[in-house]
Amino acid sequence: MPAPSPNGPAPDSVFASSGDLATEISRAADADVATRDPLHNLDPDQVEGERAGKRLGPIFWIAVGVFAVIAIAAILAPWLPLKSHTVPVGRPSQPPSSQFWMGTDSLGRDIFSRAIWGGRVSLQVGFASILFGLFFGGIVGVIAGYRRGRTETVLMGAMDVLLSFPSLLLALSIVSFTDNREWWLVSIAIGIVAIAPIARLVRANTLVYSQREFVMAARSLGASTSRIIFKEIIPNVVFPVMSYAIILVAVAIVGEAALAYLGLSVRPPIPTWGGMIADGRPKLENAPWISLMPCLVLFVTVLALNLAGDRIREYFDIKEGGL
């Protein structure tokens, strides 16, 4: 029990007697902040996550390294000394060799250079579609989570409708509207599929944070609604959503590959990983590398993204007590 101030208006005897002890204790605790300060610095709860021993770990950095190599190669493809990816450069269906690192396909084109060029489409679509999904899903989720009530019911109902479509079929039906398929069209198709799960995640996080006391504290200081959403809620929602988005990029890359396998991604001769896998299908018995090599690249890319995303999610998984 805290101490009543000695000159307070006639405290009951109950408080007077027990209050003295509390005063003594608090005085002792107050005594020298300076000597307690070093202790302060040792308390793991009061040190940033980094210094408290939370690390991303070697697996994360290997995953990031692998992904960075693939991404940089894809970005720099036009300037790298690669063999042509559109015209045959050797005999068809050659196994991997020192000349053709991943072999050649059924037309004699270099699989290695096609895999790098194909990465451009896959990564572009993977990131663009998720950015699209983040933008629209984010808006829907924040509004639904903050406004609640009927707005939330309507918006989340729409999201449930979107979710109830089989996702690949939905993307398929969107891309099959047109024959002139550019990478951005494929991105929008996959992005639309990504809106609903992102909106759900954003809404859930917005709900949690908008009921935190700091939001009411901001309101009690006269902050406007937009200020609360942009300054108080969104910066808190961004972290969990971003780590989920990295994993979604991997899903989108696989989705693009699935569309390409069905011949519904960007039009040939622009190579895509899914298209290359489909190309090798008839020759799977004699020349398995034609399909397997792009499979391997796809696998490594998706694995790297998943590992990195998972690790980031764990890293930013902030416990209540740590706040």
């Binding site: 009543p4 208006p9 405290p11 204790i25 700091f214 902050a223 808190n236």
Partner: protein, 348 residues
């Protein structure tokens, strides 16, 4: 004497829920002068927090019915919308919240959180706001304030964080500070420091304060008046000294009795109030406290006592403590072997 700074009359707040309408605050009236402190005491669910948020207008509009008058500085703000209130919030009324762990934004630096409202309300530029923030941090007793401004909330201890929330609440010089259980989430040793800090700041700024607590000990030495709430109603309201000298309401008496006394021998059984607070969806017909009251009589269950006012002291009881009726009621109950309460029909 001039008009009071804040005058609340007949304030009622109800929540519309699926199971019915909950009257969380029921016909509460009080007034508060500049520089004075009002303590609001009651157990969990008695409506203290809802009362302070109702007065400030911080409750959501949806499914909330708020009636009565909240006259601040001569103007009734009960019908103010969010936009009108945001001019009042921060500058005129501010609130310190219960849990400093959740009342600071975890991803915003402390300096930013303090300067935000300074820049918003007072229109200061960045440097002025920073200088002000530094002064505020010093005035609430934070060591190394310049360094702390650049830190995040998780780098501070609970007591420090509560000091920061107080600094934020005081930033724009409010005339009324609502302290909603400001020490409940803190260690006992830190509690006294924070309460002393609030006291000192209040005196320095000649600010009115509403101190909400479930602990009579917290409000005992630090308030001018105390309002005891039970089931959303004010059951006793008196100047602090008068309340402790001359308890009228059996509920207040029971609260006082349930405070552990240091002069008691070890292992003395702590007296508790049996039962639970009333169900506010369908409250009992008579006195809300009757089912838990040791003096309860049939009359208590049949009709609700009005707020009886004797000078500055008011209470809601048919058999107030310290009167002959009260002693007779207790004797009658003892003779009948009823230790506490009286069976009621309505209610929980």
């Amino acid at each position: 004497m001039s008009t009071p700074l804040l005058e609340v009359s007949g304030l009622s707040t109800s929540f519309v829920t699926d199971r019915g309408v909950v009257r969380a605050v029921d016909d509460v009236s009080f007034s508060l002068d500049r520089g004075k402190t009002l303590g609001v005491v009651g157990e969990s669910g008695s409506g203290k927090t809802v009362l302070s948020r109702s007065v400030m207008g911080l409750l959501p509009k949806k499914n909330v019915i708020r009636t009565g008058h909240v006259i601040y500085d001569g103007v009734d703000v009960i019908d103010y919308d969010q936009k009108q209130m945001s001019a009042v919030w921060g500058k005129e009324m501010a609130m310190v919240f219960q849990d400093p762990m959740t009342s600071l934004n975890p991803v915003m630096k402390i300096g930013k959180q303090i300067t935000e409202s300074l820049r918003h309300h007072l229109g200061l530029d960045k440097e002025e706001a920073n200088a002000n923030a530094l002064a505020l941090m010093m005035s609430v007793g934070i060591p190394e304030p310049a360094q702390r401004l650049n830190e995040y909330p998780h780098q501070l201890s609970g007591g420090m964080r509560q000091r920061v929330t107080i600094a934020i609440a005081l930033a724009c010089g409010p005339k009324i500070l609502f302290a909603d259980e400001p020490t409940t989430a803190l260690d006992v040793t830190v509690q006294a420091q924070i309460l002393d800090l609030l006291d000192a700041q209040q005196r320095e700024r000649h600010m009115a304060m509403i101190l909400v607590s479930h602990d009579l000990g917290v409000v005992a030495g630090r308030t001018d008046e105390i309002m005891v709430m039970y089931g959303g109603k004010v059951v006793e309201h008196a100047p602090t000294a008068e309340l402790f000298d001359n308890v009228k309401m059996p509920y207040t008496e029971a609260l006082l009795r349930s405070i552990p006394r240091i002069e008691n021998p070890s292992h003395t059984r702590l007296e508790a109030i049996p039962g639970r607070p009333p169900n506010l969806i369908s409250p009992p017909k008579g006195c809300n406290f009757a089912p838990r009251c040791r003096y309860a009589q049939p009359k208590c269950v049949e009709s609700e006592p009005p707020l009886i006012t004797e000078g500055a002291h008011s209470y809601r009881c048919w058999f107030p403590c310290g009167t002959d009726e009260n002693r007779e009621a207790l004797e009658k109950n003892m003779a009948a072997g009823v230790s506490v309460g009286i069976s009621t029909t309505g209610g929980a």
